[in-house]
């Protein structure tokens, strides 16, 4: 029952950090529990890959509630990985200002609950229960978004909660219609697997209605344009390790729920789920690409890049075929590891200069070589410069699109990716290498401090290195087990 242990660990950690023991231990508890979860999930994933399915590890009685296949294992692995690096990063990031013990405990309790809710999404098999944990991800992270307690952070948190829950209300309706569709088609167990089996007998009109309702409802939380308006606010105002979680894995784990519907919809003739995915995906990528050009705040820049990447993944799924699906899975991995790195870099820059304004940051490489180097590396990695992980996965998707003969969609996707590349790199370049004093006259004070070097907390540097390794290595080398996992996950979104 390793799945149960995986889910219990963060809950236990959330309880432990509330016990009024030494304040120093609090961050340690989170790091240890996340690391332990990562190890357990790595073992579980190896088992899933070896058995090519859930195998023997679960009792039949549990399969109505809990099921782990390749796609679930992939999401679990990414959540645990980013949770671990973000927990390490939090140690130093929160130590830069003196926080009252209560606030620190609140942060870590919410952090662990948030991790729990994200881990529960891919593990649960019953769609309405998945809907509930999707709601929990919003509710557990709301107080993390508003953690800084500034006017902007509170506004961002409020928008985040209201829009996400509004979307969730629409999605709930979709899940209820899906349930009714299953009953109308003769029944079966209401699980993801049961849905795939029952799909050919279900009334197409109900399935289409359910699909669109869920796509729109959960798409709000994924940040698909035009429901994305809350995302740049929440993903830029939260503390940087939380941003890494929100952008890196929360969006992906919600997207996972939408992906689960594709094998179901493929059984319906004329459902056009793929077309919807391409259209929404391309709109998201295109809008984000142009917004990236005119963005003024570097954390918002990375947030818009998340909208772009979610669009790329959805469009890739829409392209169809096993090659594009494999590319989409690899894009999920490369986006998660790279985006978390980007937010660690942005957090380091924020610690170094104390502002989120792009125009106010010039010549970061002289003030803090590590933060500057990290920011330029993060920019290159997320924009998709070779030989990074994002480049490889985007290349795979575009190649698959061309091989499928979808020239218009692939061409548009490639154009938007290039525009986004220039958008990201132009801003990063000016921030890191730009001449400091002449371009930012309104920040006189930073000029005098510039001579004094900024020292990044040790744990932040460690998290940066830990996150940089996969972002770089996965661009040149995909280990054999990971390749098997990606293949298995790609097979799960096809009928």
């Amino acid at each position: 029952m390793s799945v149960i242990v995986i889910l219990l660990l963060p809950l236990v950690a959330a309880l432990l950090v509330c016990i009024p023991l030494a304040k120093r231990l609090v961050a340690g508890v989170t790091v240890v529990s996340c690391l332990a979860d990562l190890i357990l999930i790595a073992r579980l994933t190896r088992q899933v890959v070896a058995d090519h399915g859930p195998g023997e590890m679960l009792d039949a009685a549990w399969s109505k509630w809990i099921a782990v296949d390749g796609l679930s294992a992939l999401i679990l692995l990414l959540v645990a990985l980013v949770a671990t690096t973000a927990a390490v990063y939090s140690v130093g990031y929160l130590a830069h200002e003196v926080l009252p013990a209560k606030k620190l405990r609140l942060y870590h309790a919410n952090y662990n609950l948030f991790i729990f809710s994200m881990l529960a999404i891919p593990v649960l098999a019953e769609p309405t229960l998945v809907w509930i944990v999707v709601e929990l991800t919003t509710l557990c992270s709301a107080l993390l978004v508003s953690f800084d307690n500034t006017r902007e952070a509170l506004e961002a948190a409020w928008k985040y909660v209201v829009l996400s829950l509004m979307g969730a209300g629409v999605a709930l309706f979709g899940f209820l219609v899906l349930f009714a569709a299953m009953r109308a088609g003769g029944g079966g167990t209401y699980t993801w697997a049961g849905l795939v089996t029952a799909a050919p007998r279900m009334p197409p009109i109900l399935m289409q209605a359910a699909f669109l309702l869920i796509l729109i409802g959960l798409g709000t939380k994924v940040g698909l344009v035009p429901m994305h308006t809350w995302l740049p606010d929440a993903h830029s105002q939260a503390p940087s390790p939380v941003c890494a979680l929100l952008s890196g894995v929360e969006t992906t784990s919600i997207l996972y729920v939408i992906l689960r519907l594709f094998p179901v919809m493929q059984a319906v003739p004329g459902a056009h789920a793929e077309t919807w995915a391409i259209i929404l995906g391309l709109i998201s990528v295109g809008t984000a690409a142009f917004l990236l050009l005119q963005v003024k705040d570097y954390k918002r820049l990375f947030a818009f890049s998340t909208v772009e990447h979610m669009g790329i993944i959805l469009a890739a799924i829409g392209l169809g075929g096993s090659a594009a699906d494999y590319g989409a899975m690899q894009q999920i991995v490369s986006h998660s590891v790279t985006k978390s790195f980007c937010f660690y870099a942005a957090g380091a820059a924020l610690l170094a200069v104390g502002t989120r304004e792009i125009a106010a940051v010039r010549g970061l490489i002289r003030r803090s070589p590590l933060a500057g180097a990290a920011l330029i590396f993060g920019g290159l990695a997320i924009a998709g410069a070779p030989p990074m992980a994002v480049f490889l996965s985007e290349f795979l998707i575009l190649r698959a699109g061309l091989a499928q003969g979808q020239y218009v969609a692939t061409g548009l996707l490639a154009t938007f990716i290039v525009i986004a590349f220039f958008g990201v790199m132009a801003h990063m370049n000016r921030m890191v290498f730009g001449a400091p004093a002449s371009l930012a006259p309104e920040r006189e004070d930073s000029g005098s401090e510039a001579s004094e070097r900024f020292r990044l907390p040790f744990s932040c540097g460690l998290a940066l290195i830990l996150a940089a390794v996969p972002a770089l290595v996965l661009g040149v080398y995909i280990p054999e087990p990971l390749h098997d996992l990606l293949t298995l996950a790609a097979a799960a979104v096809m009928r």
Binding site: G169, A180, D233, R356
Partner: protein, 236 residues
Amino acid sequence: MNEATEQLLENLNALATGLFLLTAFGIVAMRQARACLNLFILQSLLLAASAALLGLRYGSGHLYGVALVNLISKPIIVPWLLRKTSPAEIYTRREIDQVLDIPTALLIALALVIGAYFVGVPLADAVGPEFRGPNVPIGIAVLLLGAFTLTVRREALSLLIGLLVMENGAFLTGISIARDLGVLVELAIATDGLVIVFIMGVLVRAVQKQIGTTAVGALSSLKETTAATGTDEAQP
């Protein structure tokens, strides 16, 4: 159960759902935050009534559970949680600068209901002949009215109620077309509604303390044109 009783139960259910829709209109029209909360409580009671009537009609013990859960969580626990978490100020607020005036808002609401009818009836037909009752179209209508409330209101309590009304609408459809969803799931959904109230109450308190207003919908310092500098311009 003879045919006359069945007919009576269905008529009573139609009455309950009709009043349910009316409360949603009231929530769109009311300026007083307190009145919105009272209407929401009334709406939840009507939802419970509809669940109980349908339970009786189709002999589904499961729906009694839904009715009971709704009876306890929304009219009792929600107001209690709000009192515990959020500042008392939210009750006394009136929507002064509403985006739309009330007649316009009601006209749009009416259009939404008509739209919901045209979507809901074929949807209910597709599920099966015994789902033809008013629950599906009215559920969709109330879902839309809740979303509409969210877009035109600015006060924290009205926004929170808009969210809960959306959920009520989804539920009203659910008790008709997804009767045997499972008690565990229903309980979890009800608990989730309470967590929403708790978290939003805490947020409203923080907003009121930091910014000095409960008109959270009117906050608009985060935009693309002006870069957020992270400075705290809170007023006392």
